[in-house]
């Protein structure tokens, strides 16, 4: 087994063989999750705390189910309603939590780098459930697992990531993961939604949707992140849908067996046509959600194993 991480803060730190190890284990958890008895004791006796400083229903429940299936004691902290509002700093919150001896912390935070900062201060495994516009590693891993199961491999594929790249941590993690696994990545979207110098990340950049997805094996749509936009990035949603929304006509430029992905939640009629999203022959959006639980189980299992092997090593304070 190759997985030498103490935390899962981003895809940036992972090596290709670690990604493969994690996905292989996740495959086994997919099988477990499809059984009637879905229980394992991999995390028995361990405490998992989910700290979400930003609203999330889907990711938080996915982590919660993953933890419970592995036998961990799972606790959700609604950070938006708590002490952070009373002026406590992130580090003080982390130190207080640390004193309760959790084994796994799952953190989402609206600021890039906040999860890294927290990981330096606590004495447990930290999983990044999304930090600002930086990374969302479990999303990229679940996307990778979905692709691998649908396409039979995770290399030498043509993958188009379309839409709001600039505000998307999902895009950043996916670009890194799919790049490490040696795929050809295309980014498609209006130039206002492309981050600066993104062309230097080993990707091809297109502002024409049809050209961008032409011949692709995978079409990954991103949500238009209206809540992160502080100015006009696009003229209107209807023009965006017209030029960049995925409908049957645009999808016809991709390979006939191309799969359609979306990290959710979807804005139907903005970035994706409802019929495409619901087309069970093309869309793997429901599988993505299923893979999410398995990938999170695998990630927490691997981190817990490393923790058992080296309980007191490292930078812990």
């Amino acid at each position: 087994m190759t997985f030498r991480q103490k935390h899962l803060l981003g895809i940036e730190q992972l090596r290709p063989e670690e990604i493969t190890t994690l996905l292989d284990l996740a495959d086994k958890y997919v099988d477990l999750n499809r059984r009637q008895q879905k229980h394992s004791d991999a995390l028995a006796g361990l405490t998992q705390i989910n700290m979400f400083f930003e609203n999330s229903t889907r990711t938080q429940s996915s982590f919660e189910i993953a933890g419970k299936r592995l036998g961990a004691d799972v606790m959700n902290m609604a950070m938006q309603a708590s002490s952070i509002k009373k002026g406590e700093t992130l580090i003080d919150t982390a130190l207080s939590l640390n004193a309760m001896h959790p084994d796994i912390l799952v953190v989402r935070h609206p600021h890039s780098g906040a999860v890294d900062l927290l990981a330096e201060k606590v004495n447990c495994a930290v999983l990044n459930a999304g930090d600002g516009r930086h990374e969302h590693p479990t999303q990229a891993l679940l996307d990778a697992l979905t692709i691998r199961r649908a396409k039979g491999r995770l290399h030498r594929l043509n993958i188009a990531i379309c839409g709001d790249i600039a505000h998307s941590r999902v895009a950043r993690s996916n670009i890194m993961l799919l790049g490490k696994m040696e795929n050809r990545i295309r980014l498609v979207g209006p130039p206002t939604l492309m981050p600066s110098q993104i062309d230097q990340f080993g990707v091809e950049v297109y502002d024409d949707m049809r050209k961008g997805i032409e011949g692709c094996d995978v079409v990954m749509m991103l949500r238009l992140q209206k809540e992160r936009m502080d100015g006009g990035f696009i003229p209107s949603e209807r023009e965006y849908y017209h030029r960049y929304g995925l409908d049957a006509e645009k999808l016809s430029y991709a390979k006939d067996d191309a799969i359609v992905m979306h990290p959710g939640p979807m804005n139907r009629g903005v970035e994706i046509d409802g019929t495409i999203a619901d087309d069970i022959n093309r869309s793997v959006i429901q599988e993505q959600v299923e893979m999410g639980v398995a990938v999170r189980m695998a990630a927490m299992d691997l981190l817990a194993r490393n923790r058992r092997e080296q309980p007191n090593e490292g930078v812990y304070v």
């Binding site: 940036e12 700093t89 992130l90 580090i91 935070h109 600021h111 890039s112 780098g113 906040a114 890294d116 900062l117 930090d131 600002g132 516009r133 930086h134 990374e135 941590r169 950043r172 981050p195 600066s196 110098q197 993104i198 230097q200 990340f201 502080d230």
Partner: protein, 423 residues
């Protein structure tokens, strides 16, 4: 009381020379330079170490009034003395802002009591640094304001800024500004580019600085004001500055030591001690700024000393405060430019001491007979590893912690008196 420094490597920025000699200090001024007899003086053998005019640092933040827990005149003054800075030109971005003669007088009184080096406070250009009404520039100048600046608050309304410039011009007062287009740079934490994209941080294009500078220079052309851009950092701004100088406008510019010695990649994994304003730039920008200092296009190097306590820095990068302490590390950091072969010592001292003195109408910055004996004696090669806990500043937010540096101050003289070191 006469002191003779012999066997010294004299760094003379005025004449661009770097040669062995002696320097005689008498009654607080330089009494003789070169081949001097030791007649009746206390003789100090410098052992071939450098003696140069003390550093005149434009833009030091001392957090009095308002945030004395971050830095006081006492601690800033001790740090300055230990860093070879003999004149601190302090910023008015305190709480409250230094925008009235009364506050200015408080600051001067505190500075005189507490700081072992010279302190020349600057005053705000507009009340509360809000960019709406001009301060009492005349009264403030009479009370000793060295220059007028709203620091990193840009006076967004060109009409207000033009009137301030016109009024300041009538008093021959120096206006200092931080050129930046504030709408383009709003909310930014780093410079746009590959690194910013990788780390997912809010970013600003270097073009925002050029836009701010273009606007300011247009207003200088309109009003004829004396203008200093305090902290240029990008290559894009340099042609604009060169053109303004060629047009004969009364314009000078400075750069902070951070933008000469660090680049955007130093932020690494969200290290907030590297968060400064303007943000660190690309390596190309850094090299362009060094070349501009060497050619004389950029006139002044300053520390942009900005103390921040741990609470302001131990936050997610976007939320963390900007700024770094630098009074004590200015000299060894600047020596990196010399050791890397970009620049020689007299040229460096032109930017650290002579040019800022000239811009403020001071007699310092020269190794000339009759000039104040504000001097720094230093070993240009002495190596050490920076340990932030050794800093005299109350705040320890230095970006150089743990780094290898070369160049140590041996002694600092202000008006002929030793304020740091033991000879």
């Amino acid at each position: 009381m006469k002191t003779l420094l012999t066997n010294a490597r004299l760094i003379d920025p005025e004449h661009g020379t770097d040669e062995l000699g002696a320097i005689l200090i008498e009654d607080g001024v330089i009494a003789a330079v070169g081949d001097v007899s030791s007649d009746g003086a206390q003789v100090v053998d410098c052992g071939g170490k450098c003696v140069a005019p003390g550093i005149v640092d434009i833009g030091v933040k001392v957090c009095e009034p308002g945030e004395r827990h971050k830095e006081s005149f006492r601690t800033a003054g001790l740090a300055a003395a230990a860093g070879g800075v003999t004149t601190m030109v302090t910023r008015p971005d305190t709480l409250p802002a230094i925008d009235s003669p009364e506050v200015l007088e408080f600051v001067e009184r505190r500075a005189n009591e507490a700081a072992p080096v010279r302190v020349m406070p600057m005053a705000a250009l507009t009340r509360g640094r809000e960019g709406r009404e001009m301060t009492e520039i005349g009264f403030l100048q009479d009370a000793g304001a060295a220059a007028f600046t709203d620091c990193d608050n840009v006076v967004t309304n060109p009409k207000v800024f033009a009137r301030c410039m016109t009024y300041a011009k009538s008093l021959d007062a120096l206006v200092i500004a931080h050129p930046q287009d504030p709408t383009l740079s709003k909310g930014a934490a780093v410079t746009s580019g590959k690194f910013a994209t990788l780390k997912g941080l809010p970013m600003v294009s270097p073009m925002a600085e050029r836009m701010g500078l273009e606007r300011d220079i247009a207003l200088v052309e309109m009003t004829g004001a004396r203008y200093h851009a305090d902290n240029l950092s990008t290559a894009k701004s340099l042609p604009v500055l060169a053109r303004a100088k060629a047009d004969g406008l009364d314009v000078t510019a400075g750069v902070s030591i951070h933008h000469l010695t660090l680049n955007e990649l130093d932020v690494g994994d969200y290290r907030t001690f590297f968060k400064v304003k303007p943000p660190l730039r690309s390596e190309d920008d850094r090299v362009a700024m060094i070349e501009a200092v060497a050619s004389g296009l950029i006139d002044v190097i300053s520390s942009m000393h900005t103390p921040q306590d741990e609470e302001s820095k131990r936050l997610p990068f976007e939320e963390a405060a900007s700024g770094a302490v630098a009074l004590e590390t200015l000299l060894p950091a600047a020596m990196r430019l010399v050791h890397a072969g970009y620049i020689d010592l007299p040229t460096l001292w032109r930017a650290l001491s002579l040019n800022p003195s000239k811009r403020l109408g001071l007699e310092t910055g020269r190794l000339a007979v009759g000039a104040p004996a504000d001097l720094v004696m230093f070993d240009p090669d002495a190596p050490f590893v920076m340990d932030r806990e050794t800093l005299r500043s109350k705040s320890k937010n230095t970006p150089y912690d743990g780094q290898r540096m070369q160049g140590k101050v041996i002694a600092t003289f202000v008006g002929g008196a030793i304020v740091f070191g033991d000879l």
